[in-house]
């Protein structure tokens, strides 16, 4: 299969050239590629801020940057990573590309709205970048009032507007996914024959639709208060800053499940394909995605335990926070059980899946620490919480994201990634990650507060270890950027089903044609039935 043959066949990549064919495309696959480029840039930007933070924290005294700059660094790092990288990461790239193909549809329900979602993310990102260039924002990614409304004199409004617009991108993506799954499945593709990746993205869509509007209106109220001093959150006029925290976290906890659920969907695919076995307890794993999405809306008060919230509410939210942990436990155990008596291959995506299950378990279990009222009083707003959420977000979602990128790379680009380099970078990432964030658990329990530009000298050794880990991690992330770009030109040509996977997306040539399927597939087999793996599609 020489590269020449590849050029002739028209597929979604060479079906039209030039800027206009990309910027006005309605093809869900092209929009996915646009998203992929956008969020990689935001990830790099957020990563640069993270590296500067880690460099600053090498010394106890705040001597690399001024405290104003440091405050802007971690704020921009948090805002860009959460709103412009992690929330769109899996749903907007792999979700957009593969959800329609997995259920046998030609495209999403509303392609024009799908393109609008991308433009909204770009517009929102534009505002955030403008705010950053013009002087940055220093309120933390949580924008707590009254600091964000009255005392901060940085570009709060521009950043809030950026997040407001990007929020609608997330809402419309969620809406698109929900309608597509309900109305556009191929004949025979009942709900229980759908791949678990589709279940996870469906549940994520539900959260995006129900949660994001609340932060949108909260940002509008912050905007009004900052411009008109109207007092909804201003204590001097009788407003209550804790009300802002309630409205902010009503969205922001479900938002963390927006970030992790699609990643869990990817892991279900990887674990099944690379152990060549149907997922153990398919209905339980499918249901736990929806359960996490729903119960995720009942627990936001666990971010307010010491914020002045009443003790009674603390009891209620701590109790419900433990409810939300059970579906995650069910998922982890079912993934591990799938490996039993499987035929396990060590391809890079599977290494990332192993990494995800291990690190998500550690991250999730530390979530149980901070959900316990007695412990959270001591560790809230310390590096313990930083370690908890980096374990589940960076050790979890980013690892699953990279696993998914490598898994579907041959299908998206028609090229295979270099296996050797991929395994090396996975190792760098796993080692670098643990060296960066495990010391932060110890720092946190010692009492090192978060968002500190200077700290007492006795914490220095752990900070230096964490920064050393961050450099290894940075190398780990830069490697894929290089060899994946390299593989576009020089990578070996991939077949239509290099992994022998069962999804409908593998029943199309790599890269797939614009209309996905010549004939609408009829689904007769159960999900993950490895006796009926779609055979190599002969390239015409």
């Amino acid at each position: 299969m020489t590269t020449a043959v590849l050029q002739e066949r028209t597929h979604y990549l060479n079906n039209g050239y030039g800027l206009k064919s990309w910027l006005l495309t309605k093809d869900h696959k092209r929009i996915a590629v646009l998203y992929f480029i956008t969020i990689s840039i935001f990830f790099a930007l957020g990563g640069v801020f993270a590296s500067l933070i880690r460099l600053e924290l090498v010394t106890p005294a705040g001597d690399l940057v001024s405290s104003e700059t440091y405050n802007k660094l971690f704020t921009m790092h948090g805002v860009i990573m959460v709103f412009f990288f992690l929330i769109p990461s899996v749903p907007a790239t792999m979700g957009n590309f593969f959800l329609p193909m997995m259920i046998g549809a030609r495209d999403l329900a509303f392609p024009k709205i799908n393109l609008l979602s991308w433009y909204l993310l770009i517009a929102g990102g534009g505002f955030a970048i403008f705010a950053m260039m013009a002087g940055g924002v220093d309120t933390g990614w949580t924008f707590y009032t009254p600091y964000s409304t009255t005392y901060s004199n940085t570009y709060v409004i521009a950043t809030a507007l950026g997040i407001f617009i990007a929020g609608f991108s997330s809402i419309l993506t969620g809406l698109n996914f929900i309608v597509t799954v309900h109305r556009m499945r191929a004949p025979g593709m009942t709900w229980f024959k759908m791949p678990l990746f589709v279940w996870a993205n469906y549940a994520t869509g539900v959260i995006q639709v129900l949660g994001t509007p609340v932060i949108a209106v909260t940002l509008v109220l912050v905007f009004c208060e900052r411009v008109f001093h109207i007092g909804i959150f201003d204590p001097a006029l009788g407003g209550d800053p804790v009300l802002f925290q309630h409205l902010f976290w009503f969205y922001s906890h479900p938002a963390v499940y927006i970030m992790v659920l699609p990643a869990m969907g990817v892991i279900s695919e990887l674990v099944s394909t690379f152990s060549r076995k149907p997922i153990f307890g398919y209905p339980f794993v499918a249901f736990s995605s929806v359960a996490i999405a729903v119960i995720g809306f009942l627990v936001w008060g666990h971010h307010l335990f010491v914020s002045g919230q009443s003790l009674y509410a603390g009891l209620v939210f701590s109790f419900l926070s433990y409810f939300v942990a059970i579906p995650s436990a069910i998922k982890v155990f079912n993934w591990t059980a799938t490996l039993y008596k499987g035929s396990i291959s060590y391809a890079t995506p599977m290494l990332y899946a192993f990494g995800f299950i291990g690190l998500f378990t550690i991250g999730g279990l530390t979530g149980l620490f901070v959900a316990a009222l007695g412990i959270d009083v001591h560790v809230t707003d310390t590096y313990f919480v930083i370690a908890h959420f980096h374990y589940v977000m960076v050790g979890g979602t980013v690892m699953a994201y990279l696993g998914g990128v490598h898994y579907w790379w041959p299908k998206m680009t028609g090229r295979m990634y270099p296996e050797g380099w991929a395994k090396l970078s996975a190792l760098f990432i796993f080692v670098g990650f643990n060296l960066t964030f495990f010391p932060q658990f110890i720092l946190g329990y010692l009492g090192m507060p978060r968002r500190y530009h200077a700290y007492p000298p006795e914490f220095q050794v752990l900070h230096v270890a964490s920064t050393a880990g961050a450099t290894v991690l940075a190398v780990g992330y830069i490697l894929p950027a290089i060899y994946l770009a390299w593989s576009l030109r020089y990578g070996p040509v991939a077949g239509s089903n290099p992994w022998g996977a069962t999804g409908l997306e593998w029943a199309t040539p790599s890269p797939p044609p614009t209309h996905n399927f010549d004939r609408i597939p009829v689904v007769t087999h159960e999900a993950y039935d490895y006796t009926a793996v779609p055979q190599e599609v002969e390239v015409v």
Binding site: A105, H182, R183, M184, R185, A186, P187, G188, M189, T190, W191, F192, P283, V294, I295, L298, L311, Y312, L315, V316, F319, L320, F323, R519, I520, V522, T524
Partner: protein
């Protein structure tokens, strides 16, 4: 999640457009029941917390030192004199201030406004000038200047 009853043996006739996508949707009735169950569990846990709150409160109150009898009095009244000093340094400091005030100020020394109180320094100067009403031995002249 029961999907539509008849299992699909025959191949759908793809020529007709309606047959080109799956119609079996989610069993809304089952989800409705789940939603109701979720609401009940949430409300139940909110009230369960009421029980936990009461239980912890009773347990905690038991550990508290018994309140001193004085406190049980109606807080509007204070026990009769003499009372324990609650804040010794404060009381000591106030007593000294009161004494200084008495010693260094002008004022009526008695109710009938006959005798006057004058600051101690002033009194000492006057005493020096007037000399002490010494007993009859004229010989011991006061060491200091002439008596007035």
């Amino acid at each position: 999640m029961a999907e539509n009853k008849e299992t699909r043996h025959t191949q759908p006739d793809l020529s007709k457009p309606e047959m080109r996508h799956e119609h079996a949707d989610v069993n809304v009735w089952a989800i409705g029941k789940l939603a109701i169950a979720l609401i009940l569990v949430t409300i139940a846990s909110v009230f369960l917390m009421f029980g936990v709150f009461r239980f912890l409160e009773v347990r905690e109150n038991a550990l508290q030192p018994p309140p001193s009898p004085v406190v049980s009095l109606d807080s509007r009244k204070q026990p009769p004199e003499p009372r324990l000093l609650q804040n010794e340094p404060e009381n000591l400091q106030e007593m000294r201030a009161a004494e200084d005030q008495l010693l260094n100020s002008y004022g009526w020394a008695d109710g009938e406004h006959k005798a006057v109180r004058i600051p101690i320094d002033r009194a000492m100067d006057l005493l020096l000038q007037r000399g002490l009403p010494s007993r009859l031995q004229p010989t011991t002249k006061s060491a200091k200047g002439p008596s007035k």
